[in-house]
Symmetry: C2
Subunit: 335 residues, 2 copies
């Protein structure tokens, strides 16, 4: 094995100098730096990163905990994280938790055991046990895309409530007075926030809230189908359905079609996320656009504030949304 000592011998300098020449080139003289670089090249030296990591206690990697890799929204967020992390010389370790809390905990232990420098958590809960909470000082863990508003960790989140309210307002503005909703898991802060926005919009326009056209989903394609089936099965169909993510909206449109209803002529459908695909649906899906790539960038910034021990100006960052109005929504037909 060619190690640092081989290089030192070849270059006729001490191991410390070799180390410095590689890690902090500005503190060694031009001449020795050249000498060392040549020697390293000659003997084909590759520093053993594991030794470096062990010694310097910096892994240069961060862990992303993601409940579901194959969800395209998360895939985009991860892309954003990746892009923000690479220029800093960090690597991404991916932890697919499948929503399982134990897996999440196991993976988060990587932080405690020095295997990673920080964590970006894409689910709603603090990934570690209470006992590992690191006392007064915040551990380098950042929540992204969900809204955990206690102070266990900094967050980066969308203006969720406002976004849902804006979409609901838009639908109401089209003349829809009965708007069905397919939500996320009811205990999720995301669902709670978006429902609050929805209700606020109804109240503003003095529309009555109907529990029976609100159904629960799990963000999957089939949840959209089942959701529509449930809504249709209990009486007069609403003229619009607001799905709390795009995949459920895809499912919803499919089921509506299956049941002989036209989108948007009979029922308007709106989604949330604005996946790249949504524009390509037929009809193209109206949705709430989330700045998915920015999420990653901002979360990484937050995380490095923690890792480098700087004071955080703002613990909870809110990112703006946009409405992407397309052809899956139209004016309510006046029957």
């Amino acid at each position: 094995m060619t190690n640092i000592r081989t290089v030192a011998k070849k270059a006729g300098v001490s191991v410390a100098t070799v180390s410095r020449a590689m890690q902090k080139p500005d503190v060694v003289s031009e001449k020795t730096r050249k000498k060392v670089q040549e020697a390293a090249r000659d003997v084909g030296y590759k520093p053993n990163m594991m030794a470096q990591v062990f010694r310097s206690k910096k892994t240069h990697s961060i862990l992303v905990l993601v409940p579901d890799m194959s969800n395209p929204f998360f895939a985009q967020v991860i892309s954003g994280i990746q892009k923000a992390v690479r220029p800093r010389g960090y690597n991404l370790v991916l932890g697919n938790t499948l929503g399982n809390q134990q897996t999440e905990r196991d993976l988060a232990q990587l932080l405690i055991t020095n295997q990673t420098d920080g964590i970006i958590q894409l689910s709603a809960r603090y990934p570690l046990d209470e006992q590992d909470k690191g006392g007064h000082r915040l551990l380098p863990i950042v929540n992204c895309c969900e809204c955990v508003n206690d102070d266990s960790m900094p967050t980066v989140q969308l203006q969720n409530e406002e976004a849902a309210k804006a979409m609901a307002n838009y639908l109401v503005g089209l003349g829809h007075s009965r708007i069905g909703v397919i939500t996320g898991p009811p205990e999720s802060p995301l669902t709670i926030g978006r429902m609050a926005g929805y209700k606020a919009a109804l109240e503003e326009h003095r529309l009555t809230f109907e529990q029976q056209i609100i159904v629960e989903g799990d963000y999957s394609l089939v949840a959209g189908e089942k959701g529509v089936a449930a809504i249709l099965s209990c009486g007069v169909a609403p003229t619009a359905i607001f799905c709390f993510n795009d995949e459920m909206a895809f499912g919803a449109m499919r089921e509506l079609k299956q049941q002989g209803l036209r989108v948007p002529a009979d029922v308007s459908v709106a989604g949330f996320d604005d996946l790249p695909f949504s524009k390509y649906m037929n009809p193209a899906l109206t949705s709430v656009r989330q700045p998915s790539l920015d999420f990653g960038a901002v979360a990484v910034n937050q995380l490095f504030e923690l890792i480098e021990g700087r004071v955080m100006r703002q613990r909870h960052q809110l990112l703006p949304f946009e409405l992407a109005i397309r052809s899956s929504t139209c004016e309510a037909s006046n029957l």
Copy 2:
């Protein structure tokens, strides 16, 4: 810091015994194991994984090189890899290369520098320089989803040519005699294989090959739109278009609609991959189903053969395809 020595002292045993009690519980007596476990719990001992990794030269992580994280097909493959890797106690490190060869090389250096135990490469090229090729013995690098048929690394790939041929045959069987194609990058083995299958089907039915209705794409949504535009711009439109992935098919369907052509009444469209979304398109997309999750599992198996130095029975694994026939294709209209 509570390290192994703290535990040893507390338990009244040697550090070696503590190490053994943690790593190979079966070689220490029940009594001491209990004693050590208690002591470890009492002092809140978390082994420093970095020291372990450094010392034992096993990182228990594997690197996945992926050209584009937000491609849902890759996302699925990665999911499959993840699932196969977790039970072995390994973690996944994700390298988003964006198709950039330098990034790929940099990341692949993690193998050389002992930062990872193996690599699964989702692009078509060998990720390291020739000089790092490890001489006679194969380095633990496996290619997945692409077809590199030299012996630089084992591969897991689809029966590509057969799949494309089957789809082309199916379209011909519906009465389509002029079938446009939107391919991948022309130099890619994937494209070459699929084109070979397409041509074979034509020849079998004595149909003429028309270069002008074959256009190049890059697997993106917009490539599908542009591809259709290009095909339509040069004369009589074909009655079917075969896209070498589903995303391009989505783009193609959109552009066809935009140009006033109906799918499938005027033009049938077929894709490749069978993404979960494809079934939800309107019309639902006919496609070649790839066993995306199996890819991951098989690739991981191959990789561990290499890591554990076993002899490989089969260097190049072929996985089977299926045709998913849906409503974006139908019999050719007889004009």
